[in-house]
């Protein structure tokens, strides 16, 4: 089983906490970085980190640079990093909009953020399409 190098962008600290807990528990992902919005992510990437993530899971609604900004920006700055979007929204148009913007996929957040286990499995399954794991 391949461990995927992941960066998480989520503005809500509580949400981000439960999210990263679930990822760490699964052993399928290695979390390279956690960021509160796109500005923080950009700042970190521009600082040339020793290790780059293979993929990024980004919330859409965030203050400052939001998920769409990240999808847009990374197409030119880091095209090798695959961006996956996530949001509380479950409407089809949101998913379409993300994919059109350049995201690999879109996964709706779980109903409550204490239930990220199944979300992580689902995300790993989707990501493996691109990483052959």
């Amino acid at each position: 089983m391949r461990t995927l190098k992941l960066a998480i962008v989520e503005n809500d600290e509580d949400e981000r906490f439960f999210m990263s807990e679930a990822f760490r528990a699964s052993h399928e992902f290695e979390i390279i970085g956690e960021f509160g919005n796109g500005d923080q992510l950009t700042e970190w990437l521009q600082a040339a980190p020793k290790q780059l993530p293979e993929l990024i899971l980004s919330d859409l609604n965030m203050p400052g640079k939001n998920g769409y900004d990240i999808i847009d920006e990374l197409k030119t700055t880091n095209p090798d990093i695959l961006v996956f979007a996530t949001s509380t929204s479950s409407v089809a148009s949101t998913r379409e909009k993300c994919i059109r913007a350049g995201a690999r996929d879109f996964i709706a957040k779980p109903d409550i953020f204490v239930a990220y286990d199944s979300f992580v499995s689902e995300f790993y399954r989707l990501a493996c399409r691109y990483f052959g794991c």
């Binding site: 503005n11 809500d12 509580d14 949400e15 439960f18 509160g36 919005n37 859409l60 609604n61 203050p63 400052g64 939001n66 949001s87 509380t88 929204s89 479950s90 409407v91 148009s93 949101t94 957040k109 109903d111 409550i112 953020f113 204490v114 239930a115």
Partner: protein, 629 residues
């Protein structure tokens, strides 16, 4: 007094010369002296040629004397010269004289000056000659003479051309040869001669025959000729070939008839003629159909009967004729009246008509009834206006619907994201608390309860702001006269606490006294802008300048602060709803304030934009129309 032979001789009223048998002049009398100018003594014993033609030609006189002797009498005419050298035309009559023994003893010569008579004869002959030449040379008329019996006795070139006979063929023939066989009856020709004789002349137009049998239409004048004893000596006949004239007259008649029937039958156009005074002289089917009058109704009437009263009062009919007369044509569209008084919309062309000498002969008037076309045009125009209005309304409705749809989509996005988020947070913490209760970890409950309350409160704020936002477009826009000072003053009043807390200094400078708009909304606009200006600081006391001035029919506002500023890529994004540049922990807010500002300004048909240099404060610019429709 005793009468002697010599006395008688001297007093004879004719000029007499007496010659001896050799032709030598013995004596002459007084009249002879008067004619020749020679006295008796001057010619006595001189040869007779002394009073001759001045050529001294004894041979000629000798010959004349011999002729006289032989014939017993000789009369000759010829030029002679008087003593003064002038010429005269002399009639010389020689008679030989014999003595009692019948012996020739001389001549008696009678001399007459007949110059005058001769000149008259010459004149007559010349005039007759001219006349003859003239008649013979006339080619357009056949002119010839008939004797009293109707036999052709003279002929001219015109006769040869018109009848086809040369002189030698026709002289001596009866003039009935010129008639068609059907009329070659004695009565006809005799009747004509009789009428000419009784009335002086006979005139006729009719068919005549040429040599070879072809017919021609002839104008004939037969004139009886009488001599000075009033005796009929014959007839002159003048014949003219009218076939060409007849042909062109017939062609003209036919063309006129065709034209008339054509015009009369035209039903779609009223075509009629006016005389120079504007009275109607012809009428056609179209005119009848359009105007309702029959020809009997209108012929002779002045054409103004078709005009409405105001046109007649204004003298329009006469003016139209004047225009047609001066420029050849008058054309217009206008209302005209039918016989029954109803109106019709007419296209009218009046054309001045001139005769062959260029004088005004009258006017033609062509009238078309365009009422139906006009009605159709109008109906079409009305329906096109109606459709355009409908299309405009549809377009407006469409854009309104699009806007509503866009807002609905936006609302869906808001509900699915922004409103769902705090609900999910509350629910998540309730779950956590449930877990903690089950695990009897009561000490963990308190922070989670606090976070739940925060999330619920945030949800309340979002909903309130969202309602405020949606309210802007739902409520009808009020249009009130508002003073700038009141607007800014009220906005500041609502922010009293925040201003006091931040220690902000706010200056207001306006050269515009008042503007029109919705008070509540515009207060909200400035309140939000001022609140932002106070909020986004880096710790130092905020300073806000509000300026207002008039510019190109607009009212311009600038709200400028000394805060943290806005990076250039976010200058437009900040107006999106729920768009926030900062974490709530740093600068609290829902991301609705500037979206509300934008919406208020747009509802007032204005424009709002932000300008900023990073770290150098931000300025918000507003442009509102002075008057809102």
């Amino acid at each position: 007094m005793h009468l002697t032979n010599d006395l008688i001789f001297q007093n004879l009223s004719e000029g007499i010369f007496v010659l001896d048998e050799a032709g030598t002049i013995q004596k002459c009398n007084a009249i002879a002296t008067a004619i020749t100018g020679y006295q008796n003594s001057e010619v006595e014993n001189k040869p007779f040629e002394t009073v001759g033609d001045g050529q001294d030609d004894p041979i000629k006189y000798r010959y004349e004397l011999d002729q006289a002797l032989q014939k017993k009498r000789l009369v000759v005419e010829g030029w002679k010269r008087r003593k003064d050298g002038t010429r005269y035309w002399a009639e010389t009559c020689y008679s030989p004289i014999y003595d009692d023994d019948q012996k020739h003893s001389g001549y008696c010569v009678l001399l007459r000056d007949i110059s005058e008579r001769k000149q008259q004869q010459v004149d007559i002959r010349e005039s007759e000659e001219h006349y003859r030449l003239m008649v013979e040379a006339i080619r357009d008329y056949s002119i010839f003479m008939l004797n009293p019996e109707g036999i052709v006795v003279t002929w001219n070139d015109g006769g040869a051309l018109i009848h086809g006979y040369v002189e030698s063929e026709i002289i001596g023939k009866h003039f009935s040869v010129f008639y068609p066989p059907s009329e070659q009856v004695a009565e006809k020709t005799e009747r004509e001669l009789r009428i000419a004789q009784e009335n002086g002349s006979y005139r006729e137009e009719g068919w005549r025959v040429k040599k070879g049998g072809s017919l021609f239409w002839a104008n004939v004048v037969l004139t009886a000729l009488f001599n000075n004893q009033n005796k009929l000596i014959g007839y002159s006949k003048v014949t003219r070939d009218l076939t060409d004239r007849l042909k062109s007259e017939e062609a003209l008649r036919q063309s006129e008839a065709r034209y008339r029937s054509l015009v009369e039958q035209v039903a779609d156009y009223g075509i009629f003629m006016l005389d120079t005074k504007g009275r109607i002289v012809s009428w056609n089917e179209g005119a009848k159909r359009i105007k309702g009058y029959t020809a009997e109704d209108v012929i002779g009437k002045y054409f103004s009967i078709f005009y409405p009263e105001e046109d007649i009062v204004n003298g329009k009919p006469a003016w139209e004729l004047k225009v047609a007369r001066s420029s050849g044509k008058y054309e217009e569209e206008g209302w005209r009246l039918r016989k029954d008084g109803t109106r019709f919309w007419a296209n009218v062309v009046i054309t001045a008509v001139s005769d062959s000498e260029g004088r005004l002969a009258g006017f033609s008037k062509v009238t078309r009834d365009l009422t139906e076309r006009k009605m159709n045009e109008q109906a079409l125009q009305e329906s096109s206006i109606l459709y355009k209005r409908l299309a405009d309304e549809l377009s407006i409705t469409n854009s309104e619907l699009s806007e509503v749809n866009r807002e609905l989509e936006q609302f869906t996005a808001i509900v699915s994201h922004d409103l769902k988020e705090p609900v999910r947070t509350v629910r998540s913490f309730l779950h956590l608390m449930d877990m903690h209760v089950n695990q009897q970890k009561y000490e963990l409950l308190k922070p989670n309860i606090g976070k739940s309350i925060q999330a619920a409160q945030r949800m309340q704020e979002l909903i309130d702001n969202l309602l405020d936002y949606s309210q802007i477009s739902k409520v009808g826009l009020q249009q009130q006269e508002l003073t700038v000072d009141d607007l800014i003053g009220e906005a500041m009043q609502n922010l009293t606490d925040a201003i006091a807390h931040s220690g902000a200094q706010i200056s207001v400078a306006s050269s515009v006294k008042s503007l029109y708009g919705d008070r509540l909304q515009l207060v909200q606009l400035f309140q939000n802008l001022l609140a932002n200006a106070i909020k986004f600081t880096n710790g130092s006391a905020p300073r806000v300048d509000v300026r207002c001035w008039a510019e190109n029919g607009h009212v311009r506002f600038v709200v400028e602060d000394n805060g943290i500023g806005i990076s250039s890529q976010n200058l437009e994004k900040i107006f999106e709803i729920f768009r926030r540049l900062h974490f709530t922990s740093q600068y609290p807010g829902t991301g609705v304030g500037l979206a509300v500002c934008k919406k208020v300004v747009e509802r007032h048909r204005g424009k709002i934009w932000a300008e900023s240099e990073q770290g150098g404060g931000a300025s918000f610019h507003i442009k509102l129309p002075s008057l809102i429709n």
